[in-house]
């Protein structure tokens, strides 16, 4: 037992020491540490799907285009310039004269190989398959890349596929099984990945040959936290320098720390209600058990009038959101954002909601609950939310209160996330459900989630719909914007689609949650958000924030060393205390056994 205690004490003492070893690192590298709460699924861009992995890909690989840091409009990346044929079917990109991080020149052949691989190998479609679905053929000639499309596609310039070095990747036999854990990676972005410890971190080093110029810091570490609360502790302590995608309570807990900047700007997400307005499968057969009253646009409009969006923002989101007077595209995307005005605009008005329902024949019964005009069913709706989400619980409370005022009973149904996805996206076993989507600079993706073709098939499988919506005018507007290569005209069409969603109300937008982040100003001297005017840091589009990142130099580093020295001193002190305790135990035992012997 004595030995064990001594060993334990020694371990405790030693465990506190490594701080010294690390602080004594001779080379003062400029390192910035980004905390993330999602681990990397795969370093192979053909397979990876997670957001964190997408962000890392943006830093180590070039793309055809990248959203402009000011306007978010497509701007040159690996493609220097481009032209489109009059029919919109042939796109020609001029690939930049630049070098891969291993010194090989970048040619159009690299891009052609990447796209062709995805078009011909099903195993390479997992990551970004839909991006090449409309591609007829891709050919290369020197620095000239020609992509022929099956149908015109305006979102071509928001292509999410990282261009891979052919000379490295063509040697891979089976892409679908390739881990790509070879370091340093060969890429063309501002950083080169040099190490990946699974579920722990990814280490990126500045790419000295990056064509825009080397980043200003030497190393970027992406550090994984399984637990958001621990990541907040990590930021406050200085184990990480920046963390994004915070929820309101965690964001609030950063208040009062002089070293931490609370980053609160408009976000890329919209939160909305999805209404089962008569769900159907892709062959137009009814599916699910939605309440028949919700098929009536008047009922949906009444539901819309009975929501106090400002109140929700204040009470549910702690004021850290913007009430939605538009639809599924948040105001961050100025070009595409549509906002209701005039008579069309729905504002909180319970009297008006009641009147709409009265006029439409939904009479209130003696218990104050309305019934269908034919008296067949009461207006009792289920509200599907996720389990263990306090924010959604609170939202449900408010909605239930307001809907009671207009004679509608709302009961909350909590589902775990996979069951929730199934019931609200495939089997349609819901009335009203919480929903939302993070929107890209090109909104085609989110617009596509409300197309007829995204409804589940007759076998009940497949899909990808976020609303079971199938509306002829929405469909034709979608096709129109797809063909329109003039950005201004296309934006007008997209706004009409948002207007249609707003007035027909298969979805009702509630608010646009703010982008909440935190970073240490004693470590990060400057960082440019995307867009530059009130934009995002982590989770934004492109690589701008992490390319422009500047670290606090020397002074900050010496403060840091002082901190770890303090830790070391405390650690040694702690070890001494443990040793003293152990010694005390041993001595006490000695004396007690001596007493025994005398007896």
């Amino acid at each position: 037992m004595r030995k064990l205690l001594a060993v334990l004490a020694a371990l405790c003492l030693l465990a506190a020491v490594p701080g010294t070893a690390m602080a004594a690192d001779p080379a003062p590298k400029k390192v910035i540490k980004i905390g993330v709460t999602q681990s990397v699924d795969s370093m192979n861009p053909f397979l990876a799907v997670r957001l964190v992995t997408g962000s890392i890909q943006r830093m180590i690989y070039g793309f055809l285009t990248v959203p402009d840091s000011k306007t978010l409009q497509p701007s040159p990346d690996l493609a220097e310039s481009w032209t489109t044929s009059p029919d919109g079917l042939t796109w020609t990109f001029k690939i930049r004269q630049a070098k891969w991080s291993d010194g090989q020149p970048i040619t159009a052949d690299d891009a052609a190989w990447t796209f062709n691989k995805m078009m011909t190998d099903d195993g390479a479609k997992t990551g970004n398959g839909p991006a090449v679905e409309n591609f007829q053929s891709v050919t290369a000639n020197g620095q000239e890349l020609t992509i022929k499309l099956k149908a015109p596609q305006a979102s071509m310039l928001d292509n999410p596929v990282p261009i891979m070095p052919k000379h490295v990747w063509e040697k891979v036999k089976d892409i679908s099984k390739y881990e790509a854990e070879v370091y340093p990676t060969v890429g063309s972005g501002p950083y080169v990945a040099v190490e990946h410890k699974k579920d722990q971190f990814v280490r990126l080093e500045a790419n000295p040959d990056y064509w825009r110029g080397r980043p200003k810091i030497d190393e970027l570490q992406i550090i994984f936290y399984d637990n958001p609360a621990a990541s907040i502790v990590g930021l406050k302590k200085g184990d990480i320098d920046l963390i994004g995608r915070l929820n309101p309570p965690d964001f609030e807990s950063l208040k009062g720390d002089d070293n931490i900047v609370q980053w609160n700007t408009q976000g890329r997400r919209a939160t909305y209600l999805q209404i089962n307005h008569g769900a159907t499968t892709s062959d137009d057969k009814p599916i699910g058990d939605g309440h028949p009253a919700l098929k009536d646009p008047k009922v949906r409009t009444a539901l819309h009038y009975a929501i106090d969006k400002q109140k929700l923002v204040d009470e549910v989101q702690g004021g850290l959101a913007k009430p939605a007077d538009g639809s599924i595209i948040p105001p961050l995307y100025k070009d595409f954002f549509w906002e209701a005005g005039g008579a069309e605009k729905v504002t909180f008005d319970l009297a008006k909601a009641n009147k709409i329902l009265d006029d439409a024949g939904y009479k209130k019964g003696p218990d104050g609950v309305r019934t269908m005009p034919d008296g067949s069913r009461k207006l009792q709706f289920r509200f599907s939310i996720h389990t263990d989400t306090p924010i959604e619980d609170k939202l449900a409370e408010y909605l239930t209160g307001w809907y009671k005022e207009i004679g509608i009973t709302l009961t909350t149904k909590r589902l775990d996330s996979s069951k929730f996805t199934e019931e609200t996206g495939t089997t349609a076993l819901f009335d009203i459900a919480i929903s939302g989507w993070s929107v890209n600079p090109d909104p085609e993706e989110v617009l596509g989630t409300h197309l007829c073709s995204r409804r589940p098939g007759a076998d009940g499988k497949g899909g990808g719909t976020e609303s079971f919506y199938c509306d002829p005018s929405y469909e034709s507007l979608y096709l129109e914007q797809q063909k329109e290569l003039d950005r201004g005209k296309r934006a007008e069409t997209i706004k009409k689609m948002e207007e249609r969603l707003y007035t027909d109300a298969p979805v009702i937008a509630l608010y646009y949650p703010n982008d909440l982040e935190g970073y240490r100003k004693d470590r990060i001297a400057s960082i440019t958000p995307i867009p530059e005017d009130k934009g995002l840091l982590y989770g934004g589009s492109g690589y701008w924030p992490f390319y422009t990142l500047e670290a606090v130099s020397k002074d900050g580093a010496s403060v840091d060393e002082g901190g770890s020295n303090g830790g070391v001193i405390a650690g040694v002190a702690g070890g001494v205390v443990v040793l003293a305790l152990a010694g005390f135990f041993v001595l006490r035992r000695r004396s007690s056994s001596a007493a025994d012997e005398r007896e």
């Binding site: 064990l4 490594p18 795969s42 722990q200 637990n227 621990a230 996979s418 199934e422 989110v446």
Partner: protein
């Protein structure tokens, strides 16, 4: 050894072999049942894994079908079942939906971290718990007994998640005069040094998760040991030993404790089985890159093959350790043999 003694021992050896064979047979049967149950259990979970994978991403119906085919979900349930059983018997746990890699590889990458953490915690919890239990039981009602039993029970009742976060906030972040000397996450630093310093770096990362694991479980060893020692205190052989004039400590250590250890054997072996499963909660709090974290991620997706794989591994190791405990007990305690 005389001939008579040899004769007497043979049936015992024989009995042990037969006993062990029965137990191993039982274990194999349990494993077979677990394999079957695993397949159907996870098919009962709600949610279409392909749809879940596509969540928050825009995927066309064609692509979803492609994914379904990749995961083998386009086949009928009996076909999937036969495929699953055949594969499992060849120690092939399939390919993870989410990571697109063999489950066995994923487990292999993480099992080391888990064994290190939970193994260390088990050793500390067992030695600490048994030691305290033996001392507490030797003089029941004493101050040491009251204090140690009370503390262990309080820690036993505390939710792991809460205790872990509290330790993290106090000893990793530092509060007031208490410095935050321990890291907030992971099993090593990003700039982990080589050699001895590297080992120390891992040790430093292990302190808080290990402490959490020990604190919430050592009570069970303490209590079992305590009651077992209390039983021994009143035994005649203890009185005899006292009458012989042996030191109190010697009686406890050399006579009472070895006898009292028997009931703890089963307990410890059971826990060894669970060591493989790791500690999902603790791994999640301290971002420890082990199996618990992998299992947790698998449930969130849901990633059928990964869940099946980790679940099988955990259950099989528990069954094996249980069987081993039965056999060891048989050897240690002659009374079981006649039963």
């Amino acid at each position: 050894m005389t001939a008579v003694e040899e004769l007497e021992q043979t049936p015992v050896r024989h009995g042990l072999l037969r006993y062990a064979a029965t137990k191993v047979g039982g274990a194999l049967l349990s494993i077979a049942m677990v394999i079957v149950a695993t397949f159907f259990l996870f098919r009962l979970l709600p949610g279409d894994p392909v749809r879940a994978l596509a969540q928050g991403r825009n995927m066309t119906p064609e692509q979803l079908d492609l994914e379904r085919a990749r995961l083998g979900l386009d086949k009928s349930i009996p076909e999937q079942f036969l495929h699953f059983v055949g594969r499992t018997l060849r120690f092939d746990l399939g390919v993870s939906y989410e990571y697109k890699r063999p489950v066995l590889d994923l487990i292999g990458e993480r099992i080391g971290a888990t064994l290190l953490l939970t193994g260390t915690a088990l050793v500390i919890a067992v030695s600490f718990g048994l030691w305290q239990g033996a001392r507490a039981g030797w003089k029941p009602g004493s101050r040491f007994d009251k204090v140690s039993t009370a503390i262990s029970l309080v820690l036993w009742s505390v939710p792991t998640f809460w205790l872990g976060l509290l330790l993290l906030m106090v000893f990793a972040a530092g509060i007031g005069p208490i410095p935050g000397i321990f890291p907030t996450r992971g099993s090593s630093s990003v700039d982990k040094p080589d050699g001895l310093a590297g080992v120390l770096d891992v040790a430093q990362h292990m302190v808080l998760p290990c402490l959490t694991l020990v604190a919430v479980v050592y009570a069970q060893y303490l209590l079992v040991m305590r009651s077992s020692v209390i039983d021994e205190v009143g035994q005649d052989y203890v009185t005899t030993a006292r009458a012989k004039g042996l030191r109190d400590d010697d009686i406890r250590r050399k006579h009472a404790v070895p006898n009292a250890l028997l009931p703890t054997v089963t307990l410890v072996f059971m826990r060894i089985g669970f060591v493989v499963g790791g500690a999902v909660t603790v791994e999640a709090i301290f971002s420890w890159p082990g199996l618990g974290q992998l299992f947790y991620e698998a449930i969130r997706v849901p990633d059928f093959t990964l869940m099946q794989g980790t679940f099988l591994l955990i259950t099989v190791s528990v069954i094996l350790m249980n069987t081993l405990a039965d056999v060891v007990y048989h050897v240690l305690d002659p009374r079981v043999r006649s039963a």
